[in-house]
């Protein structure tokens, strides 16, 4: 481990510690009379799910010099938790979704579902960036940030066009939260595949990032379906009563299936 890696480890350890302490402090301490247990436990489990995903990726699919080296696996795991913090920050800034304000303090289930989908999508991209051989941490950072940037941009675009952010945070529309959460996870998986692969150069990484092209039809499809769903806003009250939640769950699952099939059909890494 060289000096740069040591300082990155130190910096990300501070960010990770700050994030996790704040995370659990907000979830389980304090005297907020309305914090609901399901959201608390769901959010409480998230870092463990992330840890499991990171551990598996780093043991099985990471660079040859990482899979067998415990120190490097720890290094990338710590960076991973800082990545989770970054993902929540991006969702706060670009999606107007706050895990503390919306999910926890306002007990907004729609926001909680969308945030979980987003967190898993963001972490999928980091895991994807760790797949393949490369000479150092900057390969992971470059490919990962490329993926995360594209993900945030597409998420922001779809949210603004479909007014999903308002429907989730103000309307507390759980169905919209399920559909948007599904989109964030599915697009995260596709961009994870785009960020994966052996490192050759920065230019080639950008070229290879084109493998994530199925995210574009997915985004277009999501916008189309969401616009149709929200059509006739004046009558939505009546409409919603006749729309079972099942349709939203099925649509979210379809998006995930689309992502999995698209990844399976792409050339192997």
């Amino acid at each position: 481990m060289d000096a740069a890696e040591f300082f990155i480890l130190l910096g990300t350890m501070v960010v990770t510690a700050w994030f996790l302490i704040k995370w659990y402090r907000c979830l389980f301490l304090g005297d907020d009379l309305r914090r609901q247990t399901p959201i608390r436990w769901l959010f409480g489990m998230l870092p463990f799910v992330v840890l499991a995903g990171l551990s598996y990726t780093l043991r099985v699919w990471a660079s040859f010099d990482v899979v067998d080296d415990e120190l490097y696996r720890s290094f990338y795991t710590v960076i991973g938790f800082s990545w989770l913090a970054l993902t929540f920050l991006l969702m706060r800034v670009f999606f107007d979704l706050s895990w503390i304000d919306d999910a926890l303090h306002r007990n907004n289930h729609a926001a909680a579902i969308a945030l979980i989908g987003g967190a898993l999508g963001g972490m999928a991209i980091y895991c994807g960036a760790n797949v393949g051989d490369g000479p150092g941490w900057w390969c992971v950072a470059f490919a990962g940030l490329l993926g995360l940037g594209a993900w945030a941009l597409l998420g922001c675009l779809t949210g603004v066009i479909t007014r999903a952010f308002t429907r989730i945070t103000v309307g507390r529309d759980v169905d919209c939260g399920i559909r948007f959460g599904g989109f964030l996870l599915a697009s995260g998986l596709l961009l994870a595949r785009a960020s994966a692969g052996d490192w050759t150069s920065a230019g080639m990484t950008v070229v290879e990032f084109g493998a994530g092209w199925p995210v574009l039809p997915l985004t277009a499809l999501f916008i189309l379906v969401e616009r149709l769903w929200a059509r006739g806003e004046g009558d939505r009250a009546r409409e919603e009563e006749t729309q079972p939640r099942l349709y939203s769950v099925l649509w979210a699952l379809f998006q995930l299936l689309f992502a999995i099939v698209a990844i399976a059909l792409l050339p192997a890494l």
Binding site: W18, F19, K22, R25, C26, L29, G30, D31, D32, L33, R34, A85, L86, F88, L89, M91, R92, V93, F94, D96, L97, S98, W99, I100, D101, D102, L104, H105, R106, N107, N108, L115, C156, V160, F165, T166, R167, T169, V170, G171, R172, E233, G234, R236, A237
Partner: protein, 250 residues
């Protein structure tokens, strides 16, 4: 059940659809509870199940007016979001409001308010009365966001088609919310004290309406509290940090 939780449940009963918006912040403090129903004000207002009220009134007077409306059938919903503290001098003195919520709980419990009663949302008109942060003081200024009140769609689902505002003036944060209602076809009225009637108003589009960064921009000037709501000591120039500072991710 703890005393403060019991009192919170009186103000935010589980059978009311509006309780999801009630803020627990001022109930987290010190409560002994009052067992006696107190005298309340009286209002001359005709109950209308299609009308939602917004009471943007300073201090404990807001609680008293809300109780008066509760007597004629409205469900008071406290949206007070500034933390009460004994740590230092508060920028917004919410002690009176907290005491009133406590003292009038028994009165509210004694009223038989229908589960589907229209709401009367309670705001403190002094929530942003003090311009900025003052070093050494406890900054518990707060504002109301569109996320803090029901959507126009939800209001329509509950049969609400009119909103009546009782306020000396309509503050900018509230204007954002009311404009979103107006846009969806809900009529907005402003109570005129002189004539004693509701006058329909047309709000102009506020700057930054429905903007993606509206909430973040507004929050940047306030002090958050980790347990929810707004409140934290503003550090003196020589202090190491502020109590209850809240910032960072998400």
């Amino acid at each position: 059940m703890k005393a403060n939780e019991r009192i919170y449940r009186i103000w935010a009963p589980q059978d009311s659809p509006w309780s999801a918006w009630a803020k627990p912040v001022l109930f987290s403090g010190l409560f002994a509870g009052s067992n006696q129903a107190l005298e309340t004000l009286e209002v001359s207002y005709k109950f209308d199940s299609r009308t939602m009220l917004v009471l943007d009134i300073p201090g404990k007077q807001g609680v008293e007016v809300a109780l008066a409306f509760a007597r004629i059938g409205y469900r008071p919903v406290p949206l007070y979001n500034g933390v009460y503290t004994l740590e230092g001098q508060m920028l917004v003195d919410c002690a009176g409001i907290q005491r009133a919520l406590n003292d009038y709980a028994a009165t509210l419990r004694s009223l038989r308010i229908s589960a589907n009663a229209p709401p009367a949302f309670m705001l403190d008109a002094d929530r942003m009365a003090f311009g900025g942060k003052v070093p050494g003081k406890y900054d518990n200024r707060w504002c109301v966001f569109p996320q803090d009140m029901p959507s126009a769609l939800f209001l329509k689902k509950q049969g609400i088609s009119r909103v009546s505002v009782r306020a000396a003036r309509i503050q900018t944060d509230l204007q954002h919310i009311l404009y979103s209602y107006q846009k969806e076809g809900i009529q907005i009225f402003h109570w005129d004290n002189k004539s004693g009637t509701d006058k329909e108003i047309t709000l102009s589009k506020p700057i930054g309406f429905a903007g993606l960064f509206y909430r973040i921009r507004l929050l940047a000037g306030l002090t958050r509290n980790a347990a929810g709501g707004f409140g934290g000591k503003v550090p003196e120039p020589m202090d190491g940090g502020g109590g209850g500072f809240y910032g960072g991710f998400g």
